[in-house]
Amino acid sequence: MSEKILYGCTALFDSPDSVINAAAKVAEEGYVKYDVHTPYPLHGMDKAMKLKPSKLGYIALIFGLSGASAAMLTLWWMSAVDYPLVIGGKPFFPYPAYIPVVFEITVLSASIATVLSMLFFFFKFPNNIHPLHGTRYMKKVSADKYGILIQADDPKFDESLVKAFFENTGAAEVDLVYWDDEEISHNNSILEPKFLIFLLAAAVITSGATYVSFNKLLYIIPFNWMSEQPKLSAQQASPVFKDGFGMRQPVAGTVARGFLPYQFTGQPDLAGEKLTNSIPVSKRSLEAGRVNFDIYCSPCHGFYGDGASRLHGQFPNPPSLHSEKIRNWTDGRIFAVITEGQNVMPSYATQLSTEERWEVISYIRALQRALNAKESDLK
């Protein structure tokens, strides 16, 4: 049998009175590394052992107050700064409405902080390896007896003296407790490898489970984010129609919104006689016309309508808009060209609405006047 190292000397008592008297005596004798073990807290034991009051109250207060302020601050930031929304006509920071949430968070943070500090700092738990575990002393003291333990590393400890002292105080049983080999090397710190591995495993399992459930499970019907719906999507077959097509033509005679009929198809000169520019010339309409001219007309006719464009040099050259012919055309005649196209020029009816065409025409007129200015224009 290897040499066992003494942890301490224990004494068991039968009644609350005897143990509290004995504890007071132990404290008076000057022992510091000792403890009392009872199956339930005894009133007055703290005083007998001359213990200082617990500081856990301060932890509750500090964490409660910080929880409250953090909550209020976060709520303020979310609702008044990051994404302010007017809800129910209330101001962006309706603090009476925030009191319930702040209160809950206060209680939550204070409670969790207090309990965790009690467990990890004050008790240094979890501590499943301790010389007292599994001893007859612990068995008794967890059930119906009261005990005192004086540790061997107390400066005043002397085995025979302590035993005699306990006998004097009326202990029912006096015993010695030894360290187990594993307990000696046991260093109960939070950085212990077993605990860290446990934390790591927990983290991996939690994130794995979260990933699987959010990315895989949650796509099973009916949890599939409404990605499969009974409505008819494009390209789908439909059992309703005889030909099986889901996509249908619009009903005959359907007209697009804002549609105005063009009666002069194939008759550009008639259009030139009948149509007049309906948009009044103004700074706004000229500017709008300029924008659209630059987008749609300039690639062929150039930015000044003179034909000096990227396409110049390719046959057939886009004509200049400043020729006599075009300057003598009416607005309506130009409208017909834009609407139907002519020769190589395609119809721009789909790119420009009727208003936009008139605006472009006004702009063309302005350009024409600019490049053919007369003396009278300077006035």
């Binding site: 109250g57 129910g88 409405a97």
Partner: protein, 392 residues
């Protein structure tokens, strides 16, 4: 059962207490009369504040006496007499309400509703002068009857030590509780809520109750601590008894805040004009400061003042906080009543001091005379020994 082991020597309070009481009473009375002659309306409003305050103290103290019996509590038995003495101020309530009953139309607009005001006319079966007067007197008589029998039994027990008297008081107290709830509610509705007769709140009775309990407990605490520190009670009372008083005060501070906040939040949130008008009156002009001040005076300051364990056991702290809480209850009642009189802003001057002084005088004198005649400790009470031995 002999109780000779309990050390109690009955001694009267020093004469200067009586003199102080008379001075307060006289000064208060002078101020009241002066203010009535100069501005009767304002005086009537102050009268209501004073009356509500005294009802809080007197009937609230009686509530505590009854509560001890009904709950079977022992820790408060050694000083139950303090609550009984304060509850005898119920006898003097008519001094405050009779002048009001003769001046109802100065304060209450429902005494003379405009014919177009369908809402007020609809309330007339309840809010009319005759029924009002009947209610006031009936409530007072009910309180008086319970006060009389409860304290009479308690006093009798000093001589006879008869346990049957405790049993009788328990039954009386049990009956008193629901009656107290109803009478205090309607008293609050009558005197305080109907000042603004178009407004209503179902929690108003509970609100007044929370302030009542707090104020009467504070008054009892001050009295108990003063008496105990100066040796007028039994030997053997420990910090544990003070702690219980402090803890109850702390609990009811929170309770008041809870009720006040509930009332405010619900009305603020729904934003219905017929309800918000009451709070808006108290947010107008300088009343805003008083409203914000109420939160600090009635909740934040006493909360932190009584939060720690040692503070609840400290006699000095209990005295200061007790006094502060009494002040905060008066502040609360002032905030409930005055904005309806002075809509433009806060109104505080010498007229407002008349009633607090007068009431303090009544309380001091009542306690002075009661201490002369009766035991400050219920020496015949079977729970007394357990009460003195009480430990947390």
């Amino acid at each position: 059962m002999s109780f000779s082991t309990i050390e109690y020597r009955k001694k009267p309070l020093p004469a200067k207490v009586g003199i102080a009481g008379f001075c307060l009473l006289a000064l208060g009375l002078i101020l009241i009369l002066l203010s009535y002659l100069t501005d009767s309306d304002r005086s009537a409003y102050n009268n209501i504040i004073g009356l509500s305050f005294l009802i809080s103290l007197g009937v609230g103290a009686l509530f505590f006496v009854a509560l001890e019996y009904v709950a079977g509590a022992v820790w408060s038995t050694p000083f139950r007499r303090a609550a009984e003495f304060i509850s005898s101020t119920i006898i003097f309530l008519p001094v405050l309400f009779i002048p009001l009953l003769l001046n109802l139309n100065r304060v209450f607009s429902w005494t003379h509703p405009l014919p177009a005001d369908k809402s007020l006319i609809g309330k007339a079966p309840y809010l009319n002068t005759n029924f009002f007067i009947i209610r006031v007197i009936a409530f007072w008589l009910i309180w008086l009857i319970f006060y009389h029998f409860l304290t009479r039994n308690s006093k009798k027990q000093d001589e006879s030590s008869d346990q049957q008297l405790t049993q009788k008081n328990i039954k009386l107290s049990a009956a008193f509780m629901p009656i107290f709830a109803v009478t205090i509610t309607f008293s609050a509705i009558d005197w305080l809520m109907s000042i603004e007769p178009h407004w209503f709140s179902t929690i108003f009775g509970v609100y007044y109750f929370s302030g009542t309990v707090l104020a009467s407990l504070a008054a009892c605490t001050i009295l108990i601590v003063l008496l105990n520190e100066n040796g007028y009670l039994v030997n053997g009372l420990k910090p544990d008894h003070y702690y219980s008083l402090g803890a109850l005060l702390f609990a009811f501070i929170n309770f008041w805040a809870y009720i006040a906040f509930s009332q405010f939040l619900l009305i603020w949130y729904a934003n219905l004009p017929e309800e918000t008008v009451w709070f808006l009156t108290r947010w107008y002009g300088s009343w805003k400061l008083i409203s914000i001040g109420l939160i600090f005076v009635h909740f934040i300051i006493p909360y932190f003042g009584l939060l720690s364990q040692p503070s609840k056991m400290n006699s000095k702290r209990l005295l200061i906080m007790g006094g502060w809480i009494l002040f905060s209850h008066y502040y609360d009642l002032y905030w409930l009543v005055m904005p309806n009189y002075s809509k433009e802003g806060v109104l505080f001057g010498w007229p407002e001091l008349g009633f607090p002084l007068f009431i303090s005088g009544i309380i001091v004198l009542v306690i002075y005379y009661k201490t002369k005649r009766e035991n400050l400790v219920p020496i015949g009470d079977p729970k007394l020994r357990r009460g003195i031995d009480f430990r947390l």
